[in-house]
């Protein structure tokens, strides 16, 4: 089975902190994604990566950055956390950009 593992289920951070969310997949997928999930808005794409060291902005990249130094690992970075970044963050991977995605269990981030 494909496994996508996010390093934390729950995080509480203070405003202004630098926050790292880590994601690891074990299926050698080329593509990895970070989504933000908010009630009534579905999933919104923050960033994706189609290869090591490659990244593309999604629909809501402001306030976020990403890093992909190894194929299996994709990190989301909140440079200076703000309360409006309180949300559920979902990592996903896929073998192709037009195929199904495999999701991690999510990280619920609260910024206080």
């Amino acid at each position: 089975d494909v496994k996508v593992t996010q390093s934390s289920r729950y995080l509480v951070k203070r405003t202004g902190e630098k926050v790292f969310l880590e994601c690891v997949q074990d299926m050698d997928h080329e593509n990895m994604f970070w989504y933000r999930q908010d009630p009534g808005l579905g999933l919104r794409l923050i960033y994706f990566s189609y290869d090591v060291k490659m990244k593309e902005k999604g629909d809501i990249p402001e306030g976020y950055s990403v890093s992909r130094e190894k194929k299996e690992r994709f990190s989301l970075i909140l440079e200076s956390a703000s309360t409006n970044q309180t949300s559920m963050y979902l990592c996903a991977s896929s073998p192709g950009l037009n195929t199904e995605a495999f999701f991690g269990q999510g990280t619920r981030l609260t910024v206080v």
Binding site: V4, L41, G42, F103, G106
Partner: protein, 114 residues
């Protein structure tokens, strides 16, 4: 603009009753179509997908979906709902706009009553 609409924010059905969750998309061509399920506190899991061919597709957990080109719809159905089906369901489309882009609907939360 391309979009995916799930008109029902939440639905309540009785255990054993049939279920239909609606999904409509706005796009000029036929996209790749997916339904995912999210149990509380979990990530999303693929239920089924449609790329081409037979417009009625079978998925896991007894779900099926039918693609109707004329209505730009991809509705999810199950003939008999179980209490364990209570979850949030997301329709998603992958568009080919020079590169592939995935758009998710806002989701429909399913409540199952005994």
């Amino acid at each position: 603009a391309q979009s995916v609409t799930q008109p029902d924010i939440h639905i309540t059905v009785s255990e054993g009753a049939s279920l239909e969750l609606r999904c409509n998309y706005s796009y000029g061509a036929t996209p790749y179509l997916f339904w995912y399920v999210q149990s509380p506190g979990q990530g999303l899991q693929l239920l089924l997908k449609y790329f081409s061919g037979d417009t009625l597709v079978q998925g896991i957990k007894g779900f099926e979906a039918e693609f109707k080109r004329s209505q730009s719809s991809f509705n999810l159905r199950k003939p008999s709902v179980h209490w364990s089906d209570a979850a949030e369901y997301f329709c998603a489309v992958v568009l080919n706009t020079g590169g592939f882009k995935t758009i998710f609907g806002a989701g429909t939360r399913l409540f199952v009553k005994a």
